[in-house]
């Protein structure tokens, strides 16, 4: 068995120290410590449902070595929802646009959308599709997810004319 090493991360604004195997993924560390809004789908980097923000950028936590993030800042969909106005707008838009069916892809989709909007994302359906191209959804057919992100971009005055 592997030895456990202490790992200090700032998660959802709080500094935390966990014990984690040297080779643990960030996904495993988060889920082992009850951040269950971060979902585990494929664990191979393909589906995107494990997406979190690491230092403000969306990353797939299942292919992120946890100890490599020591001292860095991680935000999950739930933490962002309580603390960040943009994320709250995205979450509301997902509800209003009917972008959620089973909901399994939703936390990752919202974090990917948050990254897009934070980095100047505009109300352009093609660009939005590209931005969420690392996130798979088996239910919605994507249109309503794109609608929600589009709506937020419009609310922020990011229409393209």
């Amino acid at each position: 068995m592997s030895n456990l090493l202490p790992l200090t991360l700032k998660v959802n604004g709080e500094e935390k120290t966990f014990l984690a195997s040297p080779h643990a993924s960030l996904l495993r560390v988060l889920r082992d410590n009850y951040y269950w809004d971060v979902k585990c789908g494929c664990e191979e980097g393909d589906c995107g449902t494990c997406t979190v923000l690491l230092d403000g950028k969306a990353v797939k936590s299942c292919i992120t070595l946890a100890h490599n993030c020591a001292g860095h800042e991680v935000w999950t969909d739930k933490g962002l929802g309580y603390n960040d106005e943009i994320t709250r707008m995205i979450q509301d838009a997902f509800v209003e646009c009917g972008s959620i069916q089973c909901g399994f892809c939703t936390p990752g989709m919202i974090v990917a959308a948050k990254h897009y909007i934070d980095h100047g994302g505009i109300a352009d359906r093609k660009e939005i599709r590209k931005a969420i191209s690392g996130n798979l959804c088996r239910c919605t057919g994507y249109n309503k997810i794109v609608d929600a992100i589009y709506k937020v971009a419009v609310e922020l005055g990011r229409e393209v004319r």
Partner: protein
């Protein structure tokens, strides 16, 4: 049996000292997009993981006196968003924009991409076509390896166990292009990729050319026969036909889950034509055989 250690290297010096000490046990981890998958699959075991994600000196894109230097730890995102590369190395810029998906690109690094040495590594053909050099260090010494000598086979490179890639370096060339054939738009592992760079004289004669292909051999390869077919010539229908014929001699594709060898043999000449014409600033469909 999983048996790992983890140590974070704060700077290059510390990373080289750790590599020197751990030797065969050492396993560098940058963006971890290959590393985590390999660890989970049990392909990597019993290693000291050396975290290099935080080494600032390994990341960044620099331009000075016509040369572009990209740190090994630079993410594919940074390359995909670089206005400098869009202008001065469009082949690499395009490859970064066709790489995986935006989220994976935020972690994946260029150093990890070439060190992993997949035959389908998307940054390899553009780096080969731009005649890049790989700058490699170990404790007490540094060396430069031309990109065309760097890959040895599937997941095999000239890197020694105690070596670290510091950067890749190449001369800027706006006349370069990249094209990827994948199975879908995002997150598609390449079926065939091609990149080219050219220099022309005032009459439009090609005075220097490099063409490279991915996913058509056990490693990313230069297409020397194809290059010979166009060097010293002006592109016209006949030269393009010769170019496309020559590609067959440069490749040894296999059947795999993504495509058949036959398909790759058919597609490779077409995309070589496309990247060469694009590098020369002409639309691939005008003056070309179909």
């Amino acid at each position: 049996m999983k048996n790992f250690e983890f140590i974070k290297a704060p700077d290059v010096k510390a990373a080289l000292a750790l590599l020197d000490k751990e030797k065969d046990h050492a396993y560098l981890v940058a963006g971890s997009t290959n590393a985590m998958v390999d660890i989970r699959a049990g392909k990597v075991n019993d290693r000291t993981l050396i975290g290099i994600r935080d080494i600032d000196a390994l990341s960044g894109i620099k331009f000075s006196r016509g040369k572009i230097t990209i740190g090994a730890g630079t993410t594919i995102s940074e390359i995909a968003n670089s206005a400098l590369l869009a202008k001065k190395a469009p082949a690499l810029f395009q490859a970064a924009n066709d790489f995986a998906d935006p989220t994976t690109r935020n972690s994946a690094t260029i150093g990890g991409n070439i060190a992993n040495a997949s035959p389908a590594a998307d940054t390899a053909p553009p780096l080969l076509a731009l005649k890049a050099e790989v700058i490699i260090a170990k404790k007490g010494s540094k060396r430069r390896v031309p990109m065309e000598d760097f890959f040895l086979g599937v997941n095999k490179t000239v890197l020694e166990k105690d070596e670290l890639i510091l950067a890749v370096e190449f001369s800027a060339n706006p006349h370069s292009a990249f094209y990827k054939v994948g199975l879908r738009n995002a997150m598609a592992i390449s079926v065939v990729t091609a990149a080219a760079s050219v220099r022309k004289d005032r009459d439009g004669k090609i005075t220097d050319v490099a063409i490279a292909l991915g996913s058509v051999a056990p490693k990313p390869v230069r297409a020397y026969n194809a290059e010979k077919a166009v060097l010293g010539k002006k592109l016209d229908d006949k030269v393009i036909a010769d170019l496309m014929k020559a590609v067959a001699k440069d490749i040894s594709p296999i059947d795999d889950v993504r495509a058949s060898a036959e398909y790759r043999k058919d597609v490779a000449p077409v995309i070589v034509k496309r990247v060469l014409c694009k590098s020369c600033g002409i639309c691939a469909n005008e003056g070309g055989t179909k």
